[in-house]
Amino acid sequence: MKPLAIALLNVRRLFRDRSNIFFVIITPFVMIFLMGLLFGGGRQLHVGVAGGTTPLADRLATSLGSPSIQVARFGSEERLLADVERGRLHGGLVIPAGYEATLRAGGRAEVRYVSRPGDPAAADLGSRVRWAVSREAAVLKAAQFGAAEGGTAGRADAGADAGAASAFDESLRLASGNAGVDVKVVTVGRSEIPPGFGQFAFSAPPLLLLYTFLTALTASIGLVQTRRLGISRRMYASPTPARTIVAGEAAGRLAIALLQSLLIMLGSAVLFGVDWGDPLGAAAMVILFALVGGGAATLLGALVGNEGVAISVSVILGLGLGALGGTMVPLDSFEGTLRTIAHLTPHAWGYDGFAELVRHDADLPGISSQLGVLAGYAAVLFALGSWCLRRALVR
């Protein structure tokens, strides 16, 4: 099995270089983690609330909380501001000292939302805080109206103040109940990111595509060196047919790409709990995308004359096509022409295929169009790469 021996030698040489261990094994997981935090939907937001320990202030603070928003109470505004400034909180809400009294007296209170400029998470939190405050304001207005109406009836009584307070609380209870108008949100079509979707499941598939292609391309350097040093010529002088050498070298690139894919797939499943969906579909995606990467690496390795050029082209193509194909900034945010151009890259098809598998529970037939395109890329790149390598060998 000479092709296998050649392929295994390539894998061994990849890991003989210690820097590749860092590049292939560690970096992808760091990136999955960071990209998951940055773009993943499952982010936890932290909001602080300062001022007011009265019942109405407590109501407002409590109304901010949700599964994705954690609320922390602060005794002083200074501490709240300090934590926002240091980035410990995404934002803070300051409730003024006379909040409760003003509202109970039928007045208008003002709360302040504080955040750091240019922080997308703070902006996201801000809109959620505004929504919660508006909702609370509506209830309080209703309570104030109820208290005002009830208070007029009982003003002749000796305990008029106590009655007014009681009327406010009763009105507040009623306003907070089920009565009123609720908006029920019904979406049409399909959400690109389903509710409850894990943040790392969002970042892992694009990074698998990015790293598989990039690692495969950088593995072309080994092939360039093998040619430049005359090793491939020496192999050809041995009783090994050219087709066996070409098959072995191409299999070497494929093995490296596959290894990188599997490492990310299994590693992200274990470390971050990423569910890659239908195993058959995921396996087909990984194999076909590794074939695309392996074919590109074989072509590059056969065409380029020295390692310096190979590494430059690898990095430019690996990162450039990756960025264009949506592996750095989510492809879902691309629109119109840019999205069409993105689909000139195999990465975009890989992205779509994994999105179907991971987000929408598609099975193998469900990603057949993406697999078909990737198979086309792989066939063309491998055919070209093998032809060029054979030519370089026998020239």
Partner: protein
């Protein structure tokens, strides 16, 4: 039957005839040197011999079998040591040998044994498990040769195997080649170094611009020159007295001298030297020093091509 037989070998690159109807043969146990300047067609010839380059005409036979780029059977009979260091620098010597052993079809146990043998032959066995990057240039050259010996070749092809190596490694390489020739390996050897060709090669082919200009043993080639060996003797006294005696010796073509020097033109200086010293002794002439000047391959090359070998 020669191990290597080349007939009318031709290779053309566009308008350039790189190898022009070249023919020669190498017998079992014979070391054949291809001598020529850069661009003479040596490496092109070797590339066709080892089967990495298609020829445009002619025939190559290895052990009587037709040989070309697709001939797996005949390639298995050839050991190839290219001019460049065709080694994986990041692997150890043993790993390099194991890989090429695999390509030559050696199975695990025979491969292990053979790898040990060739490592000892090129004196690398003590550093076999070090990465090649840690080797000196000479050690890399020796490993380059070791790979060529893995398959116990019938024909060993060495393309400038000592280029840029230290004297110790060069000597080790030349001794290895001599030992292999003694074991019956036919060797095709190209070099720039005249002294290597003279030391190693039983026959030499002089090539230039793709042509085989002359071939033969060293003596046959030197015979192409109208030159003879010269013996220069420094004597204590009586030089003039000894000249007639020396002229009478068979093989001495010319003798002359005055003061303390004698100069003789002879046919074969080395074989004639004892008779010359003896004759001087009988004439009562004390010999203080002897110098023999023989026409060398460099002179032959200059004579045939009109240029120095390293032009």
């Amino acid at each position: 039957m020669p191990v290597l037989e080349i007939t009318d070998l031709t290779k053309r690159y566009g308008d350039l005839l790189a190898v022009d109807h070249m023919s020669f043969a190498v017998e079992e146990g014979e070391t054949y040197g291809l001598l020529g300047p850069n661009g003479a067609g040596k490496t092109t010839t070797i590339s066709m011999v080892v089967g990495v380059l298609d020829r445009d005409g002619g025939e190559v036979l290895i052990d009587g079998l037709r040989h070309d780029v697709t001939s797996v059977k005949t390639k298995a009979l050839i050991g190839y040591v290219p001019q460049e260091l065709a080694l994986y620098p990041d692997l150890t010597a043993r790993e390099n040998l194991r890989f090429f052993g695999h390509l030559y079809g050696l199975t695990a146990r025979p491969a292990r044994m053979r790898i040990t043998e060739v490592l000892e032959l090129v004196e690398l066995h003590e550093r076999a498990d070090e990465a090649v990057t840690k080797y000196s240039g000479g050690m890399m050259r020796r490993l380059n040769i070791a790979i060529g010996l893995l398959n116990r070749p019938r024909l060993l092809v060495l393309d400038e195997p000592t280029a840029g190596v230290d004297p110790h490694s060069r000597n080790a390489i030349l001794e290895s080649v001599q030992r292999l020739a003694a074991e019956g390996v036919a060797t095709l050897y190209t070099t720039h170094y005249m002294e290597e060709a003279e030391r190693l090669c039983d026959r030499v082919g002089i090539v230039d611009a793709g042509h085989m200009l002359a071939e033969g043993t060293r003596r046959e080639l030197v015979g192409l020159l109208d030159e003879h060996d010269r013996v220069i003797l420094r004597v204590a006294d009586g030089a003039a007295r000894a000249v007639p005696t020396l002229r009478d010796l068979p093989g001495v073509l010319k003798a002359g001298g005055e003061d303390g020097d004698l100069e003789l033109i002879v046919n074969e200086a080395r074989s004639l030297l004892p008779a010359i010293i003896g004759a001087l002794g009988e004439a009562g002439v004390e010999v203080r020093s002897v110098e023999v000047r023989e026409p060398d391959l460099e002179s032959v090359f200059l004579h045939i091509t009109g240029k120095a070998l390293r032009d």
